[in-house]
């Protein structure tokens, strides 16, 4: 057993435990600052992992693998957690008690994601999924006094538990026939179960569980409610970290464990991807709540990334990784702005009275009005983020979509369904331009904004916003480096 491979995981867990311990002794006033300590710790871990990358290899009897893909995603998750923690520090006023626990739970969820990126076995897949999901149950309902938050937590719990059940059942069926849980060993035997309905059914159930994580149709039903109700940092982490964890597991299962079967599932993946894109974009149109709108848009983005997976090619997989990198800076930038801009409004607490379908009036699109006068930096960040999500050059989202479409079209001569998929994706992009620009219009050109008080931003937040902007522009303008990273990362996957 080579513990050196797990350097990211154990250092993150140690950091989380240290945070919990520190919580016991620190005075209440300085607990908020613990978030910065966590950020500093993660930065050290990230830098250490870059300077001295852990060796490639497997451990725990092949359950845990350290390869290019795992390393790519570990860095991805840690970066996401850093930005989310910075956001949480700003959000601390809205959390009545236990802010240190909130930080620690983010770190525990992070450790689950780190394990997920290295999962090479159905049991580690399940454990890491549960580690992520269970911490998110708590993170989602952390604002105990807010009904919408509790409601979101319960919804997430029920649907999450259901999908967990599916996953376990599916794993059991796969194990029953394949006689192994290890992806590598399964790949050797999966070919003979190509037409075995029980085996295929089991795999389908596993995919159900992963579909729930990435919020793909028809398992997307929880996303809008949970995105809307959860505390903003949780939503952001859910949108980026949890979704990416679903994708790395999907990549591993489809292309490492059952590559032969995945090749035959292109049609299924195409259909799911197309419906997810259309559903997310169409449902986002009438939304007035910003977080709910982003919830639907995150469904649509899951659809775009599934498009890359459905291409069943190295180009498609590396495009997914590139898209996720762009998505990280874009979505976290947007959520940081939302988190700050919305909380600085006069709080309309909805404790007491029943929440009307979780409606939260101070998250309405109109509350962004005049943001460019209140804080140009916040307005610029969210504008760039929305433009990038809409896929317009020169930002990260454009290049990501470009690579995804390229990968799908490369397969199209062989199977014409890809033409239709790309056509639908384009329809989705056009729809999304409509609602993203509606948000931008609300920021810059709404009539008589109600509140023009300037918003103060702390220095760490400014740094994180600038990092997001730089990331969006860099990934959009100079793609060379990350295209190479993404291509390197998926190299091991199929071999």
């Amino acid at each position: 057993m080579n513990l050196l491979l797990l350097v990211h995981e154990w250092s993150v867990i140690a950091l989380a435990l240290a945070l919990l311990l520190a919580d016991l002794w620190l005075p209440l006033s300085s607990k908020r600052k613990l978030g910065y300590a966590a950020v500093a710790g993660l930065v050290v871990i990230l830098l250490y992992g870059i300077i001295k990358p852990p060796p490639y290899g497997t451990t725990f009897g092949g359950m845990y693998v350290m390869d290019g893909l795992a390393l790519f995603f570990k860095r991805f998750f840690i970066s996401a957690a850093i930005l989310v923690l910075l956001m949480s520090v700003e959000f601390a006023d809205h959390i009545e008690t236990g802010i240190a626990e909130y930080y620690a739970l983010i770190l525990f969820a992070l450790s689950g994601m780190l394990f997920a990126s290295s999962a090479n076995d159905f049991s580690l897949l399940f454990v890491s999924l549960e580690l992520i999901t269970v911490t998110f149950y708590v993170l989602t309902s952390f604002q105990r006094a807010r009904l919408a938050s509790l409601e979101a937590g319960v919804k997430y719990l029920i649907i999450g538990a259901l999908s967990t059940g599916f996953t376990v059942f599916g794993i059991a069926l796969v194990y029953g026939l394949g006689k192994t849980l290890n992806f590598g060993q399964l790949a050797a035997v999966a070919g003979q179960f190509k037409s075995n309905p029980v085996f295929l059914f089991g795999l389908l159930l596993v995919l159900t569980g992963l579909g729930f994580k990435i919020a793909a149709f028809p398992f997307q039903i929880w996303a809008p409610d949970v995105y809307q109700g959860a505390p903003s940092p949780t939503t952001a982490f859910l949108a980026v970290g949890s979704k990416a964890a679903g994708f790395v597991l999907l990549l591993r299962v489809l292309f490492t464990a059952v590559p032969q079967i995945a090749l035959e599932w292109s049609r299924l993946l195409i259909v799911i991807s197309a419906i997810t894109i259309l559903y997310g974009n169409l449902c986002a149109i009438p939304q007035r709540n910003i977080k709910r709108l982003l919830g639907y848009s995150s469904i649509a983005h899951a659809g775009y990334m599934l498009l890359g997976i459905s291409a069943l090619s190295a180009a498609g997989q590396s495009a997914v990784l590139y898209y996720l990198s762009g998505y990280l800076v874009t979505v976290l930038g947007a959520f940081t702005v939302i988190c700050i801009a919305l909380q600085s409004r006069p709080a309309e607490r909805d404790e007491g009275g029943p929440s009307h379908g979780g409606l939260d009036f101070n998250e309405d699109i109109s509350s962004l009005a005049g943001l460019n006068q209140r804080s140009p930096l916040l307005a610029a960040t969210i504008t760039l983020a929305l433009v990038s999500l809409a896929g317009i050059p020169p930002l990260a989202g454009f290049l990501g979509k470009f690579l995804l479409f390229k990968a799908a079209l490369a397969q199209a001569p062989a199977q014409h369904a890809y033409y239709w998929l790309v056509a639908i994706a384009i329809a989705g992009v056009v729809i999304s331009i409509y609602y993203y620009f509606g948000l931008i219009r609300a920021i810059y050109w709404s009539k008589d904004p109600a509140d023009l008080s300037p918003i103060r931003t702390s220095i760490p937040i400014r740094i994180s916003l600038c990092a997001c902007i730089i990331g969006m522009l860099y990934l959009g303008i100079r793609p060379n480096l990350f295209v190479k990273f993404a291509a390197d990362a998926i190299q091991k996957l199929t071999s």
């Binding site: 050059p393 470009f402 479409f405 056509a423 409509y434 050109w445 295209v483 190479k484």
Partner: protein
């Protein structure tokens, strides 16, 4: 660094610099915008003058590797084979377009004084748009070609949405955004499909063409017939090909003057340029299969849009429809797949760039003076506006295709080229162009400029100072220079056009036809000088 890179980068760098200027310094924004576009225009003129018409291949080339490869495998060090590279260069076709775009951008910056609010944002967007347009015309890489176009397109939407005029401003913004985004995305799919079909690992346009021109390597016939219409309609929407033209008149009528000038004049030509630069050489059989359809569609532009233009009551709507109509000439020239037709098409593109921006600039001047462009409310303005009125009349003459203006040279050669392929359509197009065009333009001029002066406008002012006259005079001068000396353009265009048409024109011409001598030899290496064509325009 190539002079082209400077031409593109100066406006973009100026836009970036303006971001850091406090928003109260409105003089600075104007000055920077005018100086930056002037610098680009001067460099473009220098490049145009120094251009060697006889030389094969591209001039002022520069190539920088952007993405070395999409594969993790070690890549070849040859930058020509990089997956994506920043590759700019001009041949006879785009040297004129870059010149036109740079001059139009300068003129647009000059007339931007009509913008009075949010000046900082406006000039930043204007410069971004100018840089994007220039980049799109100069790019020799599919990715950057598209990238620069989008970079120019998004500011268009924002400028119409924020600084636009008229009651239908919001609807116009919405419509133009939707139409042009769809068009651009369809074109993007076509471009990627093309890349996939050539089997190349690069987006470099010359490399793709070189690869496709080898007999065993071309895009398969079935795919050609499939991809060409994707590109045709994707680009067609961007160029307001009938019946996808409805965004144009409303959009231009609602747009602020500089935006309408830049879009109708320069950016719109992107789609046409894409068809000539990419679709014709890479999809020759697809082009042949669809040429006839395209020729019929362009009648929609020439006749239908011209007919609708006759009924317009607003000068800007009229200009919008006439710009839709003029696109018909270019499409007809492309559809003819003949050397003289395509040469004419490029001349029309350049001529119309100057013409459309001139008309929109003059309309914008009138609008500032009178606050309306409704023809019924105007009248007798020539008495008060000798310079503006005369320029408007000359623009109308150019629009009718009067000899002496650059449009005439282009339209005439388009008809010559098209006659070989489609007689009926050419006859109909001639009627559309000559009669309908003259009718609506001259009628509008009579109503707005002649007759008794409406008392309301007794106090309006002409462009008195030299500075005020500069943008109009400049555009008019370009129309006249290229009208009297079309060889300045045609000599440059013919050689690359012959190379582009080498495969596409092979079946259209009869073997005895003069210009097909270059088209039969498809195995020749690329950019070998083709024998000069016998049809000179003068």
């Amino acid at each position: 660094m190539s002079v082209l890179t400077y031409i593109i980068l100066i406006p973009l760098a100026a836009a970036l610099a303006l971001v850091f200027v406090p928003r109260t310094f409105s003089v600075v924004f104007r000055a920077v915008a005018i100086l930056a576009t002037l610098a680009s225009a001067l460099l473009a003129i220098k490049m145009f003058v120094q251009f060697q018409p006889g030389a094969a291949g591209f001039q002022n080339e520069q190539q920088v590797t952007w993405v070395s490869s999409f594969d993790p495998r070690p890549t070849t060090p040859d930058p020509r084979l990089a997956a994506i590279s920043y590759h700019v260069g001009v041949d006879g076709i785009n040297v004129g377009l870059v010149l036109m775009a740079a001059i139009v951008a300068f003129a647009a910056a000059c007339v931007s004084s009509e913008i009075k609010r949010r000046e900082k944002q406006f000039y930043i967007l204007l410069l971004t748009m100018a840089g994007g347009i220039l980049g799109a015309f100069a790019s020799l890489d599919l990715f950057f070609f598209y990238f620069f176009h989008e970079l120019a397109l998004v500011p268009t939407f924002i400028m119409i949405g924020v600084w636009g005029r008229g009651a239908q401003k919001n609807y116009a913004t919405f419509q133009i955004t939707l139409y042009l985004s769809i068009g651009a995305l369809i074109a993007l799919v076509g471009l990627i499909a093309l890349y996939v079909q050539t089997g190349a690992k690069t987006f470099d346009i010359p490399a793709l063409i070189a690869m496709a021109s080898e007999p065993e390597n071309g895009v398969p016939l079935g795919a050609q017939k499939f991809i060409f219409p994707v590109l045709l309609f994707g680009f067609g929407i961007l160029v307001s090909l009938w019946p996808f033209h409805t965004w144009a008149p409303l959009g231009y009528a609602s747009a602020p003057t500089p935006t309408a000038m830049l879009h109708a004049g320069a950016l719109k030509k992107f789609g046409l340029y894409g068809l000539i630069r990419i679709a014709l050489p890479l999809l020759p059989q697809g082009a042949q299969a669809w040429a006839h359809t395209l020729a019929w569609l362009c009648l929609g532009n020439l006749l239908y849009a011209g007919w609708v233009a006759m009924r317009q009551k607003d000068l800007n709507w009229l200009a919008g429809y006439s710009s839709v109509a003029h696109m018909g000439f270019v499409f007809l020239g492309i559809a003819s797949l003949s050397l003289i037709g395509v040469t004419g098409a490029v001349v029309v593109m350049i001529a119309h760039g100057f013409l459309a921006s001139l008309i929109f600039a003059l309309n914008g001047y009138l609008y500032r003076q009178t606050g309306t462009l409704e023809i019924a409310q105007l009248g007798g303005l020539l008495r008060k506006l000798p310079f503006i009125g005369a320029a408007l009349i000359m623009a109308a003459f150019a629009g009718c295709g009067l000899p002496g203006f650059a449009n005439f040279a282009g339209e005439l050669s388009v008809f010559f080229g098209a006659w070989k392929s489609f007689q009926t359509i050419t006859v109909l197009a001639c009627w559309g162009a000559m009669l309908v065009g003259a009718l609506y333009l001259l009628r509008a001029m009579r109503a707005a400029l002649h007759g008794p002066l409406v008392q309301k406008w007794a106090n309006i002012e002409d462009a008195r100072t030299l500075w005020r006259k500069t943008p109009f005079a400049l555009l008019l001068a370009c129309l006249l220079i290229f009208g009297f000396f079309p060889r300045l353009l045609t000599d440059k265009i013919q050689l690359p056009a012959a190379v582009i048409l080498r495969t596409a024109a092979a079946d259209v011409f009869t073997p005895s036809s003069s210009s097909s001598s270059s088209s039969s030899s498809s195995s020749k290496p690329l950019y070998v000088a083709a024998p000069p064509d016998k049809h000179h325009l003068q």
